[in-house]
C-alpha cells in the first residue's frame, strides 16, 4: 500500500475549561483521503477536538499541524479546513448559491470561476435547481446538503463534521450517511466526523477513534473496534454485548484458557496472557450466542443453562433474554433459519446457551 500523507496531526494536545480537563494529552493523525470518526458519549471531548482543528479553540498544551504546518496560532479564517455544523449555520439572508459562494468570495476568486464552482458543488449535492432559494425555504435534509456544498466547494485539506446528521429522521439519516461516504470516496477527500452514534461511525468510517472523558480508548478500523475491543468501555459502547465474570482455572495450551464463568467451566481462546487465578470478563455479542432448548439438546457441558424470560420479534432476528441459573441475564439475537420454520421459544422454557467458538473476547477484570 502506498504511503499516504498525514493531513492533520495532533501532538500531546490538552484542553481545559475553567480548570476542568476536557482533552488529555491527545495524539492523533489523519491520513489523506481518510474518513476518520471520533466516537464517544457526549462530553467526551470530541467536539472540542474538532473545534481546535478548525481554530475556534486554542489548545492549552501540545501542537496541531495541518498539512505539516504548525497552526496553533493561526486564526480560523486562515486555516484550510472547513466545518459542517450541527445546526448547519447557513446564512439566512443569502440564497443557496450565495451561501455556497461565500468561501470562494472570501478568497476573491474571479466571478466566472465562482459561478462554475458553485454550480458544480450544487450538482454534487443534487441541489442545482435550488440555487435561488433561501435556506428557510428548504427542508432539513436540503439545508444539510447546502452546508455540505458550502464547505466542499472550497476543496479544503480536511472537512470537519460536528454531528451534522443528528437533526434528521432515521431514514434520511441513513441516506445521508451513504451519500457522505460515497462523496468522500469519489472526491478522495479527507473527512473527520464526530458522532455519538456507533452505528453511524461503523458504517461510514475507515477508522474509528473511540473516546471517553477526553482520552482515546481505542483506535482502529470499524471491524477492529467491534470484534476486538481493547477494553470493557469500547465493548459496551460499540454495539450491545453480554459481559460475564469469571476466574481462570488453568492454561491448557498457549492462547487458550480454562475458566469458571457463572458456575460453568468453559474453554476460551484469547491472545492475551493470563495466569491461573486471574479474574476475567468474558464478552459475548448477542448475535454470536446460540440458544438450544433442553428438549432438543439435553447436554449442557460447557454451556450456560437458564430459561427464556423475554422475547422480542425484530423482523430479521429474534431477540431473547435468558436468565441464567446464576442470576445473570444474557441477550441473544438469532437470525431466523429458513430450514426451521417453527423457530421460536416458549417463555419460561429451559434452554442452554453456547456461542460461536473463538468469537468471544476475554479481558482482564481491571477497572
Amino acid at each position: 500500500m502506498e504511503q499516504r500523507k498525514t493531513v492533520v496531526a495532533l501532538q500531546g494536545v490538552e484542553k481545559a475549561y475553567d480548570g476542568h480537563q476536557v482533552v488529555h494529552g491527545l495524539d492523533l493523525e489523519v491520513q489523506e483521503g481518510e474518513f476518520l470518526t471520533l466516537l464517544g458519549p457526549s462530553g467526551c471531548g470530541k467536539t472540542t477536538i474538532l473545534r481546535m482543528i478548525a481554530g475556534f479553540e486554542h489548545p492549552g498544551k501540545g501542537d496541531i499541524f495541518l498539512g505539516g504546518q504548525r497552526v496553533n496560532d493561526v486564526p480560523p479564517h486562515k486555516r484550510d479546513v472547513h466545518m459542517v455544523f450541527q445546526n448547519y449555520a447557513l446564512f439566512p439572508h443569502m440564497t443557496v448559491a450565495q451561501n455556497v459562494a461565500f468561501g470562494l468570495k472570501m478568497k476573491r476568486l474571479p466571478k466566472a470561476v465562482i459561478e462554475t464552482e458553485v454550480e458544480n458543488a450544487l450538482r454534487l449535492v443534487k441541489l442545482e435547481s435550488f440555487a435561488g432559494r433561501k435556506p428557510r425555504q428548504l427542508s432539513g435534509g436540503q439545508q444539510q446538503r447546502v452546508a455540505l456544498a458550502r464547505a466542499l466547494v472550497n476543496k479544503p485539506l480536511v472537512l470537519l463534521f460536528d454531528e451534522p446528521l443528528n437533526a434528521l429522521d432515521y431514514r434520511l439519516r441513513k441516506e445521508m450517511q451513504r451519500e457522505l461516504r460515497h462523496l468522500q470516496q469519489t472526491l478522495k477527500a479527507t473527512f473527520v466526523f464526530v458522532t455519538h452514534d456507533q452505528e453511524e461511525a461503523l458504517s461510514m468510517s475507515d477508522r474509528v477513534v473511540v473516546m471517553r472523558e477526553g482520552r482515546v480508548e481505542q483506535t482502529g478500523t470499524p471491524r477492529q473496534v467491534y470484534e476486538d475491543p481493547e477494553n470493557l468501555f469500547v465493548a459496551s459502547f460499540i454495539g450491545e454485548t453480554n459481559v460475564l465474570s469469571g476466574k481462570v482455572l488453568e492454561i491448557p495450551e498457549p492462547n487458550k484458557l480454562k475458566a469458571l464463568v457463572e458456575g460453568v467451566v468453559c474453554v476460551f481462546s484469547s491472545k492475551r496472557r493470563f495466569s491461573p487465578g486471574d479474574s476475567i470478563k468474558v464478552l459475548l455479542r448477542p448475535e454470536d450466542l446460540r440458544v438450544e432448548t433442553l428438549a432438543a439438546k439435553p447436554d449442557t457441558e460447557g454451556r450456560f443453562a437458564g430459561r427464556i424470560v423475554e422475547k422480542n420479534y425484530k423482523g430479521a432476528t429474534l431477540d431473547s433474554v435468558i436468565l441464567l441459573d446464576s442470576g445473570v441475564r444474557l441477550l441473544a439475537s438469532e437470525f431466523f433459519d429458513e430450514e426451521d420454520e417453527d423457530f421460536d421459544y416458549q417463555l419460561e422454557e429451559r434452554v442452554s446457551v453456547g456461542w460461536v467458538g473463538t468469537w468471544e473476547v476475554v479481558l482482564p477484570d481491571a477497572p
Binding site: F56, F91, H93
Partner: protein, 257 residues
C-alpha cells in the same frame, strides 16, 4: 345571545374610552371655529398658523435635532452592546442584560431627577448637551433589547461558519451579522426617535430655558387653555409617531430562520 352582546359592549366602550379623545383631537384640529366645542366647517387654518408660529417651529426643529442625534448615538452604542451580548461570553453577562430592563422600567421622574442631580453635580449647563445625554440614556436599553432579541434568534454558529469559510472577524460582522441585524437596527432607531420626540418628563428636568423642545412648548401652551393650533400640532406628532412605530414593527416582523 345577550351575553355576547354584553361582551361586545364592554369591548367597545373600553376602546371608545381609549380612542375617542384622540379622534376628537384630530377632528377638532380641522375645525374652523376658534372655540373648539362647536364644529364650524373643515379648515386647515390651524395647520397654516402652526407653520407661521416661529417659536413653535424652532421648538420642533430642536426636537427633531435632539431626536435624530440621540437615536443615532443610542443605536450605535446599543447595537454594539447587543452584538457583544450575542457574540461574546463574559462574566455577569446576564446581570448586564438584566440591568437594561431595570433602566427600562424605572419611572421617568426618577430618571429625570437623577440625571438632573448628576448634571448639576458636574456643573454642566442645562441645554442641548444635557438633553442629548438624557435621551441617549432613555433609548439605549430599548435599542439593545430590540437588536439583541433579533440576533439571538440566529445561531451564533453563523459567525463561526463565516470565520471558518475565510472571513476575518470584521468581514464576518459586515457580511453576516450586520445584514441579519439591519431590520432590527433600523427599527430600534425609529423607536428611539419616537421615544425622544414624545418625552416630556425627563426633558422637563434636564433642559434649560435656552433650548426649548416641542413637548415642553406644548406643555406651556396648554397651561393657558387648549388652542386649536395645539390640536393641529398634536395631530402631526401623533401621525408621525404612529407611522414610525408602524414601520419599525413591519421591519421586525421579517421572517427569521
Amino acid at each position: 345571545m345577550g351575553k355576547i352582546l354584553l361582551k361586545r359592549a364592554v369591548l367597545f366602550s373600553v376602546y371608545a374610552f381609549l380612542y375617542i379623545p384622540i379622534v376628537v383631537l384630530v377632528v377638532l384640529s380641522f375645525n374652523q371655529a376658534k372655540f373648539s366645542t362647536r364644529w364650524d366647517g373643515f379648515s386647515l387654518v390651524w395647520y397654516a398658523r402652526l407653520i407661521n408660529n416661529s417659536l413653535l417651529m424652532e421648538a420642533a426643529l430642536n426636537s427633531v435635532l435632539v431626536a435624530v442625534s440621540s437615536s443615532t448615538i443610542a443605536t450605535l452604542l446599543g447595537g454594539l452592546g447587543a452584538f457583544s451580548l450575542y457574540r461574546y461570553q463574559f462574566t455577569a453577562k446576564r446581570a448586564y442584560y438584566g440591568a437594561l430592563y431595570v433602566l427600562m422600567i424605572s419611572p421617568d421622574v426618577v430618571m429625570g431627577i437623577s440625571l438632573l442631580a448628576l448634571f448639576s453635580a458636574l456643573r454642566m449647563p442645562l441645554g442641548f448637551g444635557t438633553l442629548l445625554l438624557a435621551h441617549i440614556t432613555l433609548s439605549l436599553p430599548f435599542v439593545t433589547v430590540v437588536v439583541y432579541s433579533r440576533l439571538s434568534g440566529f445561531s451564533p454558529n453563523v459567525i463561526e461558519a463565516a470565520r471558518d469559510l475565510g472571513a476575518s472577524e470584521s468581514r464576518a460582522l459586515r457580511l453576516v451579522v450586520l445584514p441579519l441585524a439591519a431590520p432590527a437596527v433600523l427599527a430600534a432607531w425609529l423607536l428611539s426617535f419616537t421615544l425622544s420626540l414624545d418625552d416630556v418628563i425627563i426633558s422637563f428636568f434636564v433642559t434649560g430655558p435656552a433650548f426649548e423642545i416641542l413637548p415642553l412648548r406644548i406643555y406651556s401652551m396648554v397651561r393657558l387653555g387648549v388652542k386649536p393650533d395645539v390640536n393641529a400640532l398634536c395631530t402631526v406628532m401623533f401621525t408621525l409617531s404612529l407611522a414610525l412605530v408602524f414601520i419599525s414593527q413591519l421591519l421586525l416582523k421579517e421572517e427569521r430562520i
